[in-house]
């Protein structure tokens, strides 16, 4: 990177909130205090994951009774303690549980009664169940509330082509396009950089402003600026993720694993990443979801093995990373007539990372008797997801959510961190 192009990068990056003028990005590496930046990774299992077949009660007779076809037999369940076990496809997470790095919360979710994916996902990502006037993601609100004058580093990234809903909002966050690491994508950026003024010629241009640049019409839709920031931040991102990686580990072959691998590189680079979002699709199984094998098992295996690889890859940086895995709702306790489950209510949340009060299954379990269930059929919600989010912001990112951050709700602080 030439001096000039680096400067123009910094200008673009400052607009995006990615870099501070005092930092010699790419030359001297990160400042020591920046390498201690804590990161939050928000993983959304879209479709309503069947949490009851992920973290499974060992001592509830109703489990086998209500799930004669899709229930996991006791000898296949990977035990966590005397009450709880994991689906065999999640077995890879058991050692993390033992190391107090993995904390499942059962019966967690949204109190809103909707069983619509669309509403439930939005309500959770906006942190505002039932409120249709809220349209900014809870993580974007965090970024906006902590926006500094110019000190920000590479603060946030969406690891997919359109931003995850939780990151949408007024604070600009880079959405990494699919497959944007290959050689062709580099050429794409190269072909357009001069068109969008990302070629490091900024200073010269200013000299003959009468000739140069943007048309004056066009209101405030600044396509050139957005293009320039796209090129510069994507280059920056590509530069970070394509550095030689001495800590490289094997990942499963999946797009989720690929996204986590790149994310691990960004976090390890110590450029100050605070939040990242990834959606994992396909958890809506109304039919033939399988038991210890099948669709649901495959999804869980991908989730568990990718997370374990991510943890290994992060090494010491895992201590300052927190992964939050959520889904919009759980599914019916009873399996349905086609070997699947329908949209339910309570589900669960996974936390993984350093500093957790791990090694314990959290949440109030009420059993699987129908009269204890929500509307007689679904897991209840005994832990509001907003309490988890607020606790994570406070404990992990040192951000105490002000009144109204979660509209019309005052979150409770949970004892999830040690």
């Amino acid at each position: 990177m030439s001096e000039l192009s680096r400067r123009s990068f910094l200008q673009g990056a400052a607009a995006l909130g990615l870099a501070g003028p005092g930092t010699a990005i790419g030359l001297r590496g990160a400042r020591p205090e920046e390498s201690q930046q804590r990161s939050l990774v928000f993983v959304f299992l879209r479709g309503g994951a069947d949490f009851l077949n992920m973290v499974i009660p060992l001592d509830d007779d109703f489990y086998a009774l209500k799930r004669p076809g899709i229930g996991i037999s006791p000898d296949e369940i990977v035990p966590l303690d005397s009450h709880w076990g994991l689906h065999p496809a999640l077995g890879a997470l058991a050692p993390l549980y033992a190391a107090e790095e993995f904390l499942p919360i059962v019966n967690a979710g949204s109190p809103h009664r909707t069983r619509s994916h669309f509403d439930a996902q939005d309500f959770m990502c906006f942190g505002a169940p039932g409120m249709r006037t809220v349209h900014d993601g809870w993580l974007n609100r965090y970024l906006e509330a902590t926006r500094g004058a110019q000190q920000e580093e590479f603060r946030a990234v969406g690891m997919q082509r359109l931003l995850p809903t939780s990151l949408r909002g007024s604070y600009p966050v880079l959405a990494v396009p699919d497959a944007f690491i290959d050689k062709r994508s580099k050429e794409v950026l190269g072909l357009f950089d001069e068109f969008y003024g990302a070629d490091g010629m900024e200073d010269e241009r200013e000299g003959d402003g009468s000739m140069e640049g943007e048309r004056e019409d066009g209101g405030d839709v600044d396509v050139v600026e957005s293009g320039r920031v796209t090129i510069e931040t994507l280059r920056r991102y590509r530069e970070i993720v394509s550095r030689p990686d001495p800590a490289a580990v094997d990942y499963p072959r999946s797009s989720f694993a690929g996204a986590l691998q790149n994310l691990a590189r960004v976090i390890r680079a110590g450029e100050g990443l605070e939040v990242a979002g990834i959606d994992l699709n396909g958890w809506d199984h109304h039919a033939n979801q399988g038991a210890s094998g099948g669709v649901h098992a495959r999804l869980q295996r991908d989730l568990a093995h990718s997370l374990v690889a991510f943890r290994r890859h992060l090494g010491e940086a895992f201590e300052r990373t927190l992964i939050v895995v959520v889904t919009e709702f759980g599914r019916t306790v009873l399996e349905n007539g086609s070997g699947g489950t329908d949209h339910g209510h309570g589900g669960g949340i996974f936390l993984l990372g350093g500093g957790l009060r791990g090694g314990k299954v959290h949440g109030d379990w009420v059993g699987l008797r129908s009269e204890r269930l929500y509307q007689g059929r679904d897991l209840p919600v005994t832990t509001d997801f907003r309490d988890v989010f607020a606790t994570v912001l406070a404990e992990h990112l040192d951000f105490k959510a002000p009144k109204g951050f979660f509209p019309d709700y005052r979150p409770k602080k949970l004892r999830l961190f040690s």
Partner: protein, 541 residues
């Protein structure tokens, strides 16, 4: 640096339009006015259309577009003729797509069935691409895009949405795009695609406790399990009023959110609309059906009106709601705001919104009249609105296809490209429809995908879509490279390109061939075209 290599005069000569905007207040030139009108009211500005518009004038063009004759060109009409599912009733679509699976169905059987189900959707998407690129009724296409999103329905709702969407496009969207708002509202409310998409077909009078008891006993008898019986009753008790459609009808289709109505109005509308469903039982034609057995047969109070019960005779109570909201002043203002935002500026000028709302009320929601109010206003022609809209992904792709006269054989790659940029037609989960403002589409990172599509299209990499040789034909006369490039710019950006873009393109041309030699257009043509389609200027309209 480039600038020094290129004499200024050359650059000036290469610019087809005025090089840059004159001062902010200067009125648009005639050519700019033509480009502006076509930018907003057609799917892509072709140079030849600009010339024609300059010849006949904006008024004549608008008259022609608002009262269009038969579909032209005739080749397009013939192409569409062959896509038979476009004119099918839902029942015919079902007959076309139904494929019974054998009990021991193989994977191949399932794939065959799924492909059969895709036929109507593929034909519909192809027809939309073809119309955008070729139809002379351009304003109709743009209005259809607007109303398709205003009254959004979506394939993502899942099976069996595919039965109804072709009919919805034909009878609701296209059927009224140049007609009246009230009629389109009426048609959408009665259409199974909407009743399915926003769940009104599920909404019903909640079962009485006697009915619940009956369900419980029946299931208990059938299964021999007391618990199953109780479960069944508990589940049945939840099946009652579904407010989904009622809420969106008020919030997104008519009055706008957070204004006149309250939660109790939503419940009243949902109650009035109970019984509105789909004839999908034995012998049903998959069309609209009113089921008195599901209707809440009571008086309702809505926005100060008393809606008398019909005593179960028909959908009259719900239709009374439609009549009230179709002419409500809030609806006029809400629709006017959206139209002005779509056609004029992301930040709709309040004065113009008021004028359009007045037209809405005076002309009872007449859509052509509202378009006229916009075009005939002074506001529309202000320089600050010129090229001020960021193209949505669909506007981007359609305009690229249109200016290059692309030949579209199949819409698969078209659809995949739209999906990769985030805006596949009739696949918006959200009842808001796709947004049309820059803040919805201009996230950092998003342009990168657009550039890829631009390069792919130009290089012939979108399967089933071809840019004809004739598009490059006029450029093959062995002219000087500069004239050559200039001609290409004129075709793709009739409104002109910035000096920066021109300088970059010129460098590409220079690098390609040796000085003084004619460029090899077969190789260079797609290259320059890809860059032009990805240029900042082409992302705006």
């Amino acid at each position: 640096m480039l600038r020094r290599l290129l004499p200024l005069a050359l650059l000036m000569a290469a610019a087809p339009g005025p090089l840059r905007a004159q001062s902010g207040a200067a009125p648009l030139t005639d050519r700019e006015r033509a480009v502006h009108l076509l930018s907003r009211f057609s799917c892509g500005v072709r140079a030849v259309d600009v010339e024609r518009l300059l010849e006949i004038g904006a008024d004549a063009w608008l008259d022609e577009q608002l009262a269009p004759g038969p579909l032209r060109p005739v080749e397009l009409a013939r192409r569409l003729e062959k896509l038979s599912s476009l004119r099918m009733s839902p029942q015919e679509v079902e007959e076309l797509t139904y494929l019974e699976l054998p009990i021991d169905a193989t994977r191949a059987d399932r794939i065959a069935r799924d492909q059969r189900r895709q036929i109507p959707k593929r034909e519909l998407l192809l027809s939309l691409a073809l119309r955008s690129v070729e139809s002379e009724r351009q304003l109709e296409e743009v209005l259809c895009d607007f109303w398709r999103n205003h009254f959004n329905v979506s394939y993502t709702k899942g099976w069996p949405a595919h039965l109804w969407i072709n009919d919805y496009e034909r009878t609701v969207v296209r059927g009224h795009a140049l007609g009246s708002f009230a009629d389109m509202l009426w048609a959408s409310a009665h259409h199974p695609a909407m009743l399915h998409y926003l769940d009104n077909a599920l909404s019903r009078r909640p079962p009485s406790s006697a009915e619940l008891k009956k369900i419980e006993l029946r299931v208990r008898e059938e299964t021999g399990s007391k618990e199953r019986g109780e479960e069944a009753a508990a589940i049945a008790a939840q099946r009652g009023l579904n407010e989904n459609y009622a809420r969106e009808l008020l919030e997104l289709h008519t009055l706008g959110v957070d204004r006149t109505y309250r939660q109790k109005d939503v419940v009243a509308v949902a109650s009035a609309l109970t019984g509105w469903g789909i004839a999908d039982g034995e012998g049903g034609d998959l069309g609209f059906a009113f089921d008195p057995g599901r209707h809440i047969d009571e008086d309702q109070r809505f926005l100060g009106h008393v809606l008398r019960r019909d005593r179960g005779e028909g959908p009259g109570q719900g239709e009374r709601v439609l009549e009230i909201i179709a002419r409500h002043p809030d609806t006029a203002e809400f629709v006017a705001t959206k139209l002005v935002r779509y056609f004029v500026d992301d930040r709709p000028p309040p004065g113009l919104v008021k004028e359009v709302a007045r037209t809405f009320q005076k002309r009872e929601g007449d859509i052509p009249a509202m378009v006229r109010t916009i075009v005939e206003s002074e506001e529309f022609w202000r320089r600050e609105h010129y090229q001020a809209k960021f193209k949505t992904p669909r506007e981007f792709l359609d305009s690229a296809l249109r200016v290059t006269r692309a030949e579209v054989e199949t819409a698969d790659a078209y659809h995949v490209a739209l999906r990769s940029m985030g805006q596949p037609t009739y696949h918006c989960d959200d009842p808001t429809g796709w947004y049309d403002t820059a803040d919805a589409w201009l996230d950092p990172g998003v342009l990168a995908k657009r550039w890829e599509v631009a390069l792919q299209l130009a290089a012939g990499g979108l399967e089933g879509i071809r840019i004809p040789d004739s598009f490059y034909g006029g450029l093959e006369d062995g002219d000087s490279p500069l004239n050559w490039m200039q001609a290409m710019v004129r075709e793709v950006l009739p409104g002109g390109a910035s000096t920066r873009t021109l300088a970059m393109l010129h460098e590409v041309v220079r690098e390609h061939g040796r000085e003084g030699e004619a460029p090899d257009v077969r190789e260079l043509g797609p290259r320059v075209l890809g860059l032009l389609l990805g240029s900042p200027e082409f992302q705006r309209q």
